[in-house]
């Protein structure tokens, strides 16, 4: 079986072929034997050439959170729908930028008004989570097209806070 995964937006291929209790693994460069088994639904033990590896894994929708030897990876199955591409197009085409909540939290303060011009790095809003205030800053020079939340609102990660429009000609 061949599998494709995205790690940090880079596509990786790997194939597994079961031979009795052992797997033949091929990553394109080389092929080797691996003795792989589930220890529990979240723990996989891998023996390759005598070396023992313990891999922790949890799936969440299309993502796999993986930890081994103190390193963490987020492995994604490539999306089959075009949804993710559409989103990024939206931003660039219109010179509009959707400012999103970086994490779940509560909007403490909106520091700008609609139609107001904003500088790069200007604080747009303050979102609090876990007792820490986090300033949401503008990554562009432009103006505020629309504000979508008010102080006091609870927002989830990736929730739109406001729409900015980029000043033309400015990178």
């Amino acid at each position: 079986m061949e599998y494709e995964f995205l790690v940090n937006s880079v596509l990786h291929k790997i194939s597994l072929e079961k031979k009795e209790n052992i797997f033949l693994v091929s990553d394109g460069k080389k092929t080797f034997k691996a003795d792989i088994c589930f220890i529990s639904p979240n723990v996989i033990s891998i023996l390759i050439e005598g070396r023992s590896h313990k891999v922790y894994l949890a799936r969440d929708k299309d993502k796999m959170y993986i930890s081994l030897e103190g390193e963490q990876f987020i492995v994604q199955e490539p999306l089959e729908s075009g949804e993710s591409f559409q989103k990024s197009e939206e931003k660039s085409q219109e010179h509009e930028l959707m400012i999103k909540a970086p994490m779940p939290g509560k909007v403490i303060k909106i520091n700008v008004s609609e139609k107001e011009n904003v500088r790069k790095n200007q604080t747009l809003a303050i979102v609090e989570a876990m007792k820490m205030e986090n300033e949401i800053k503008s990554s562009i020079e432009g103006y505020v097209k629309k504000i979508l939340v008010s102080a006091g609102d609870l927002v989830d990660s990736e929730n739109p806070l406001m729409e900015l429009v980029k000043k033309r000609g400015v990178p």
Binding site: L16, A58, D60, E71, M130, K131, L154
Partner: protein, 502 residues
Amino acid sequence: MFKKILIANRGEIAVRIIKACQEMGISSVAVYSEVDRESLHVQLASEAVCIGPAPAIESYLNIDKIIQASRQAGAEAIHPGYGFLAENSEFARSCEKEKLVFIGPNSKALALVGDKIRSRQTMEKAGVPIIPGMKNIPKDLSEYKQAAQKIGYPVMIKASAGGGGKGMRIVDNPKDLKSYLEAGQREAKSAFGDESVYLEKYIEEPRHIEFQVLADNYGNIVHLFERECSIQRRHQKIVEETPSQALDLKLRTLMGETAKKVMQVSGYNNAGTVEFLLDKNKNFYFLEVNARLQVEHPVTELTTGVDLVHQQILIASGEKLSFKQEELFQRGHSIECRIYAEDPVNNFLPSSGRVTFLKEPKGPGVRHDCGIYSGCDVPIYYDPILAKLIVWAENRENACQRIVNALDDYVVLGINTTISFLKEVINHPQFRKGKTTTSFIKMYFDKWEGKKKTEENLRLALIASAFDSFNKTYTGKSAGPAQKEIFSPWLSLGKWRLGGGK
């Protein structure tokens, strides 16, 4: 001895206190907000009372609700833990009025040491060295401006009502004073219900050294040596250890005796911590008293063999201290790492949500004080501390090795944590040399982007992913979604009001 104690807190510290109650044969009463029904402290306590909605101000900071819960459950005493109402003298007074024993200092001493300005004055009079700073809380900005000018920049904004880095800001430049004061006041208000902040001289590159003190109700006071807590980020301690590499026997004795004097002149009882800054020339300055059990108390427990929570309860119940200063000594070395729900490679952004998998570190000399479990939800409402990893070993070098090893043995999936960051901190050559100051993180980890991943581990991650998919194909089962999903009718987020309007 008490028969029943209410714990007015949540998370790892509530769990720690419940364990102590169990060992002492005392019934424990947990209180919880509506989002905390499934929290570990609710599961472990003998009893549990819901005290209101998620925001702390409506539950864990609600004095009336907590007093009422104590009455309802028939508790004789309240342990406040740290944070929330732990250093709120109004709460201590309310307990006294209701004939509930507040497991902490008497409300008068609490009010004195809690008022950073008054306590500075008291200490100055008693001959304890203090940092130059304001002697009162100003009414308006102009007074702050004048004071800052007089002290000389850089100045430090500090909350009068509490510690833990909340409300704290360093101001290098006069033009930042106003906005930093506002932010500090807001944070102080939200953390302690009191927006008072004051200014003091910012001492550059000091070590943060604090002394643990125990005082019974009969005037007997001992110190349990120092903790060094210089490794801080945003004025929040993240790594603590004892003994400090900066103290010798003479300085340790002098600072310890000073700490006892601080408590004596404050009329203090129960457990408390006297914080000092130690400058490059080994001058020390009194900072403040932390009138509560500290997050970092375990490093003292592991090196002195004294259980501080047991002692707090014994003292509050009217017992005399059962040991004298000369019977106390430190053995070996202990280090604590605080595990926060924060993303270390993304400006330490708080990270709430579901812990899809937890592997707790363990082994000889490893202690894990933990408030989470596989499948739990970490809410947005409270402090991001999830757990504390503490090790003990014969010496500092072994303790460093042991804690790095334990951090490698520690897995949290689903949310971001500071585990990988902490490992790099401990592994830093300057940390290994004991060259620790409060500027350590800023100096060496300001633009930390995470450790480079190795090729080999990436390959193994891919093999594991493929193996999981392989099994999913053949059996319809795999490592996810998080099993609890099946049972829990709602997700943490489902309860939130999303977007628009109030």
